[in-house]
């Protein structure tokens, strides 16, 4: 464990050395996510300005959900963005083979190879939205509520990483996994609004099959004092189950990996 954290630190330093070669790109990359999200948020505000609430949900309440989701997504973005390109950048050009001959876990190597600084924008947007919503809604900002949010955001992040890991592992069979990852990942957009907006089947899907709901809707509902019972505390367990399944699937895929031989 100590060896791996030390190694990770070395990887991070190397990565930043590369990034600092192109300072302007680094800066633009960091703010690009902010600008992109700003467009959606302004649109949401423009609509909700004309109506007091949607099915009982106010703008601030929706922003809380949106903010929590953005933070979870940010964790996935910063630590696990390389899962997206495993097929295109590693397996197809034969780069993946170099992970297999080194004395460290190939998955660790893949994740550590490129931490993604673009996620800084996600965190700025996420923190601002959650903070703004908490203050506006006069929700108690205590150690307990902050602890709850941190726990839920980390669980949500792990759920994101787990689903991306499962879809990325398909690259061992089909080479390029981006389409599969993209398809599953895109369903997270459902989780940026209250699940009650959708047909019941979407709610079930986002709770039990692709559990993005635990990254946003359930913790937000708990913070807002809606009675959702034990569902409020399920996220860490769901995250644990997801990441276990995902890692097993990854190992299974790794056993079936045959190099492209390039």
């Amino acid at each position: 464990m100590r060896r791996y954290s030390k190694l990770y630190w070395y990887f991070v330093i190397q990565r930043f050395k590369i990034l600092m070669e192109y300072r302007l790109n680094f800066f633009i990359g960091s703010i690009s996510t902010i600008l992109f999200q700003a467009a959606s948020i302004v649109a949401l505000w423009a609509v909700l300005r004309q109506v007091p609430s949607i099915q009982g949900w106010t703008l601030e309440q929706i922003l809380l959900i949106y903010g929590l989701l953005t933070l979870s997504k940010g964790i996935n973005h910063i630590f696990a963005d390389n899962l997206w390109v495993i097929g295109r950048d590693y397996i197809r050009p034969g780069q993946f083979d170099r992970f297999l001959v080194r004395p460290i876990n190939p998955l660790f190597h893949l994740l550590a190879d490129r931490i993604c600084h673009d996620a800084i924008g996600d965190f700025i947007v996420g923190f601002s939205l959650v903070g703004y919503a908490m203050v506006k809604l006069q929700l108690p900002i205590t150690l307990a509520s902050i602890g709850f949010i941190i726990l839920m955001v980390i669980s949500g992040g792990i759920i994101f990483i787990a689903l991306n890991l499962i879809t990325a592992a398909t690259a061992f069979w089909i080479m390029d996994s981006i389409p599969v990852t993209n398809l599953v990942f895109s369903t997270n957009e459902f989780a940026q609004y209250p699940l009650t907006f959708y047909h019941r089947s979407v709610g079930i899907l986002l709770t039990w099959l692709l559990p993005y709901g635990f990254a946003s809707y359930y913790p937000a509902s708990y913070l807002l004092g809606h009675s959702i019972g034990w569902m409020a505390w399920l996220a860490p367990l769901v995250a644990l189950v997801c990441i276990t399944i995902a890692y097993r699937f990854w190992v299974f895929g790794l056993k079936h990996y045959g190099s492209t031989g390039s």
């Binding site: 302007l24 633009i28 649109a43 004309q50 390029d176 389409p179 957009e189 609004y193 907006f197």
Partner: protein, 270 residues
């Protein structure tokens, strides 16, 4: 015998690779379609929830807004990224020099290629996502061919205006060689002010004014409003006049800008 087995094994790999490649390509198509469909369900549900307690928002009924949103989202991928990236690429890689040497007008040639790609993509979008919209989301597209024709003309004008804007924008690459950031900024501003995210009449009036003075609405909001029945056909004259004026101004600016900045060219290792 051994040789035969070897050959069979080789061919098996060849067949396997081909299937994988085909599958990968098809997967792209289906996954993008699937993702688009998911997103459309998200928007439709959002707007339906919004309309659940009221008849109209900013004067638009639910049917009008839904038709508008679904159509605008279909047009969005055609105009989202433009070709500033390509511009930067030509300059960075030095291929711009051979592009400029060809005996046809550079801008014209790129324009024709760009429009061809845009309209082929539009046909694909309309066929696939369009039929989904009609079948799954119960969207009523107009049956009057006149509306379709005016939509297409207005879209053509809008895309040309945007092309000229991107041309001017791309010329910045002659000075900076860094265009990716510009691209992101353009994409984000376009999202909001082109009317992809919501009908522009729903924006507060100050933002509507900003939208009016940007070229982005010409390529999404204006044609889509025609097709979804938000803009009645009797306004067609003034709309086309306005679009033509935009086009003339942008075209002139883009030619000037290119002539001016092409002198700055620094081919890096081309």
């Amino acid at each position: 015998m051994n040789k035969l087995a070897y050959r069979l094994r080789t061919y098996r790999s060849v067949v396997g690779m081909n299937i994988k490649e085909m599958l990968a390509y098809n997967l792209w198509f289906w996954s993008q379609l699937g993702a688009h469909l998911f997103l459309t369900i998200v928007y439709v549900s959002f707007w339906k929830a919004l309309y659940s307690e009221r008849e109209t928002i900013a004067g638009l009924t639910m049917q009008q807004t839904l038709t508008y949103i679904i159509l605008a989202r279909m047009i969005a991928p055609l105009v989202q990224w433009g070709y500033t990236q390509e511009f930067g690429y030509w300059i960075r890689e030095g291929t711009i020099s051979s592009e400029l040497l060809r005996p046809v007008d550079f801008q014209e040639r790129i324009f024709v290629g760009h429009l061809t790609r845009t309209f082929i993509a539009l046909a694909q979008q309309l066929l696939v996502t369009g039929s989904f919209a009609v079948l799954v989301f119960d969207i009523r597209l107009p049956t009057d061919p006149l509306i379709w024709l005016s939509f297409l003309i207005s879209l053509l004008l809008g895309c040309s205006i945007l092309f000229c804007f991107d041309w001017i924008f791309g010329c910045v690459a002659f000075y900076s060689t860094e265009v990716w950031g510009l691209q992101v900024v353009r994409g984000s501003i376009l999202m909001l002010f082109s009317g992809v995210l919501l009908p522009l009449t729903m924006l507060p009036s100050s933002l509507q004014t900003v939208a009016q003075w940007m070229p982005f609405a010409q390529s999404v909001s204006i044609p889509v409003s025609l097709l979804s029945g938000i803009t009645p056909l009797d306004q067609l004259g003034s709309i086309w006049l306005q679009q033509l004026a935009w086009l003339a101004a942008m075209l002139m600016l883009s030619r000037l800008m290119f002539q001016f900045s092409v002198r700055k060219i620094t081919v890096q290792g081309g």
